[in-house]
Amino acid sequence: MSDSDRRVARGGPYVGSPIIMATVRVVMPFVFTFGLFVMFHGADSSGGGFQGGVIVGTVVLMLGIAFGIESTRDWIGPRLPVALVGVGVLAFLFTGIGSVLLGAGFLEYAVYGDLGIPHASKYGIEFVELAIGVIVAGIVTGLFFAIAAGTTGGESA
């Protein structure tokens, strides 16, 4: 890239770097898997929904940094982060209030065993961790786009 092109690139649209794009392409699926791994480990060891959700949200941040924030925003769309947060909250409430409806306390997973689910307590915790992870990933993604929009002015995520 010549010097004049570089000067155009400074104020103009983002120009991708092949090194960063290639690395992100290679690393991205592993980061996503690692996020899910951390989420499911929250039940009985270190990790959990919050940490795993942040790691999964980082995947979108890496895409934004490598391929340009505007094109990533167009690809993700404005509704997906909000939908993720909504679905996560609904899943959490469904699990929590469902146990109340079955006659136990709030989030008392063991009662789901009566419905024929094996290891109800373990899978209940993992389901709730997954819901928390989805909420956190949606919030991290939405906040990233909202903050990035501030530099160009106007539109929100």
Binding site: R6, A9, R10, S17, I19, I20, T23, V26, V27, F30, I65
Partner: protein, 105 residues
């Protein structure tokens, strides 16, 4: 000392040495490009040697595989992060230090 202990001590000493070199470079070098050069190379090597010591102390097993994967991703991501930072600095128009204008900038 067993051969494995000797290997672990040598790897940890090498890792600590390169980490200290990276820290000294970060404090002493003049501008963002020189500092990124110091931290990306020395720090990557320091972290990789230290993780190699961890892998050597675990022996053969599942934990070693995890540490080796971590080592591989350290090799991939650390230089890329340094590249991204220096590229952003260049696009912001930060001129490299050439030593022409007096001593330290």
């Amino acid at each position: 000392m067993t051969p494995r202990e000797i290997a672990v001590v040598v790897l940890v000493a090498g890792g600590a040495f390169f980490a200290i070199v990276a820290a000294v470079g970060l404090v002493r070098l003049p501008d963002v490009y020189a500092r990124a050069h110091s931290t990306s190379k020395s720090e990557t090597l320091g972290a990789v040697l230290t993780l190699g010591a961890v892998a050597a102390s675990y022996g053969i097993g599942f934990n070693t595989l995890k540490v080796l994967l971590l080592l591989l991703f350290m090799f991939l991501t650390n230089p890329t992060a340094a590249h991204a930072i220096t590229r952003a600095a260049h696009e912001l128009g930060i001129e490299p230090w050439t030593g022409d204008e007096g001593d330290e900038p």
